[in-house]
Amino acid sequence: MNTTILAALVPGLPLLGAIVIAALRRSLKGNSAGLLGTLAIGSAFALSVMLFLGHDPAAGPYTAHLFNWIDIGGMHIPFAFQVDALSLTMMLIVTGVGTLIHLYSIGYMHDDARVSTFFALLNLFTFAMLLLVMGANYAITFIGWEGVGLCSYLLIGFWYTNPAYNYAARKAFVMNRIGDLGFVLGLAWLFNVTGSLTFTEVFDRVAGLGPDVLTGITLLLFVGAIGKSAQLPLFTWLPDAMAGPTPVSALIHAATMVTAGIYLIVRSSVLFELAPFTQDVVLYTGLVTALVAATIGVFQNDIKKVLAYSTVSQLGYMFVALGLGAYSAGMFHVTTHAFFKALLFLGAGSVIHALGGEQDIRRMGGLKGAIKVTHLTFLLGTLAIAGIPPFSGFFSKDAILANAFDRSPVLYALLLGGALITTFYMFRLYFLTFWGAYRGDKHPHESPAVMTVPLLVLAVLSVVGGLLNLPHVFGGHEPMKHFLAHAADGIGAERLHLEASTEWMLMGLSTALVVLVIALAHGRFAKKATLDPEADELPFLPRLLARKWYLDELYERLFEKPYGWLSTMFHRVGEGWVMVPLMNGAGRLTQRAGQVLRLAQTGNMSFYLFAMVAGIVVFLLMTLYGR
């Protein structure tokens, strides 16, 4: 098979799966929908592996041209896929992790009545995500961008009978739309100045542009990335998005969709390299988000909410890496994060499954004996995210920290602090869930093999994922960085000037502190038998954090209330005083006129004849004298 057909089949199979499952959703019984969906994604993964093995990074990107999509005047947008190191990395993550999550979902969604719809949507999401990462131009990427937003909305609101879930879905959609608007404006501007949306052409042409134009474009693209990747100020939708089924949280809101913003910036690294101001904005946005989200995570009591804030925080780290120009470190963290965060979410799902739907960690505890596989894998995931060597999170986080230290020690200190908070709340979660005495009332039971096997696979990946980009000090030679360097020009420009001894020292410091924090968390939470109070009963500072820095309330005051007031005013003034009288007036006028005019319809033929003659005479006179 040639590469073009392979590349077309990778997103094609999930689309086919979505269509087939959606069409047959009433006749598919039991696990057949799940098996079909998993098969589609699994085949796409196999094809991605084939593409990966057949790809020669040194030969540059391969463009799979399918057909001309838009061809109007000076606008030529082909429907084409670009196969290069970056898109291959993302494809492998999306399809690989996606396959495991599909498999897991067979067990998790077993009892749901709309399981076929669920798998159709999940396949559709995978299709859109592949479109996003494989598109050879911004337009295709944008289709995927919108597609994942739509699927995210549909899957968050999957249990649509609950109004709160619907509200969460709507919130996610609206916040994504705000970002999408920035993205679209950026694309329009980009097309205006370069005359093309194809990546290779755009990157060839941007060099001559002024710094102001580039700063504007990259800022707009970054707004799009903020919306999709849940950064300040648009991150509040992601924790609410936990309303969706847990596999959805794992796939969309941890492993793949939320990294679309990272992908976009890495893909556009040429542009961002030319706009230093935007890079700083990216850096500080990521930094503030990482810290704010981490502090909020400490006081959450919902197992999925903790993971959600952790996701936001980790995404912040990735943006910090991008802002520092360390694109390979960002992509490395995307990859390892996809492994361990998917693992943690699926583990959380397994816990929830084991307790029959319980999500509050205050009613868990002591589960490590009851659900052994879940406990083991969850522990591995927690160690990975905390950054204990030699787990994958250690290497990827360390790469970011090292780059930060290279820029400034203050930045390093802040990021390290964030990492320690991460360790603290993750181990709080772990200890409260699995240690101590059981505080709930349901009988826990281990999940079936179809759910635990993906957990084990992801656990292995979380442990060894660091080998993908083993740094020099450990005897590796950063294979992922060199692989990606062929795809994104920005990576080639990365420079890290650190002595090996400095690196050893930094690693030692962070590891020691992390272990210390784990011990602290163990002391506070491992033997906990009492329940934490509700958020309202906490003292001021913890209450501030538990209430998410009152960000939701702030947005409500700042945007929702004025907007609602404006809408009410428009309704009262515009609708009540102008439009309604106008409309009703037009209607009444027509009625009155009709009542008068119907008198003319006498039904008398002779009268009609007279009227007709009179009309003809009038017309003749008009043509005669009317000129």
Partner: protein, 166 residues
């Protein structure tokens, strides 16, 4: 030649007036036949021989006979003749007069025939009209057969006795 025109003109106007004023519908039909024959005479004066024949055969021969036939069928005569009030009649005459005046006023500056084709005496002959009909106007001619078919079907539908509670 001109005298023949004025003769025929007088006949058509007088018979036309009689059509309107006659109390008995049969008399009206007879007067209309006379009027149409005089118009056929006008056609001959204009060298429109084909039209003159068609006028005699189709109008006086077929259509007016159809009128007569319907009058017989419905048994119309003086006694069944509805009458309008005097006021309506005066109004009708005034309206017709105003209409005529308006038309005449519209053409009071004369009629323009500047763009006339070169004189051709064979214009009204059957062969000439036939050539025009079957070459330049073939499609309308053929389409008119559809018109006739629909008229026929319509007449049949209307003439059929309605079934009770169909």
């Amino acid at each position: 030649m001109q005298y023949l025109f004025y003769l025929f003109a007088a006949i058509s106007v007088l018979s036309g007036l009689f059509v309107v004023t006659a109390r008995n519908p049969v008399n009206s039909v007879i007067a209309l036949i006379v009027c149409f024959l005089s118009i056929a005479g006008h056609y001959i004066l204009l060298n429109a021989q084909f039209l003159a024949m068609v006028q005699v055969i189709v109008y006086t021969g077929a259509i007016m006979v159809l009128f007569l036939f319907v009058i017989m069928l419905l048994n119309l005569n003086n006694s069944t003749e509805p009458q309008k009030t005097l006021l309506t009649r005066i109004a009708a005459v005034v309206a017709g007069g105003v209409f005529l005046l308006t038309l005449l006023a519209a053409t009071r500056q004369g009629v323009e025939i500047a763009a006339a084709n070169p004189a051709d005496a064979s214009v009204g002959l059957v062969s000439h009209v036939g050539m025009a009909l079957f070459k330049d106007f073939l499609l309308p001619f053929e389409v008119s057969s559809v018109l006739f078919l629909s008229a026929m079907v319509g007449a049949l539908m209307l003439g059929k006795k309605e079934k009770v509670a169909a």
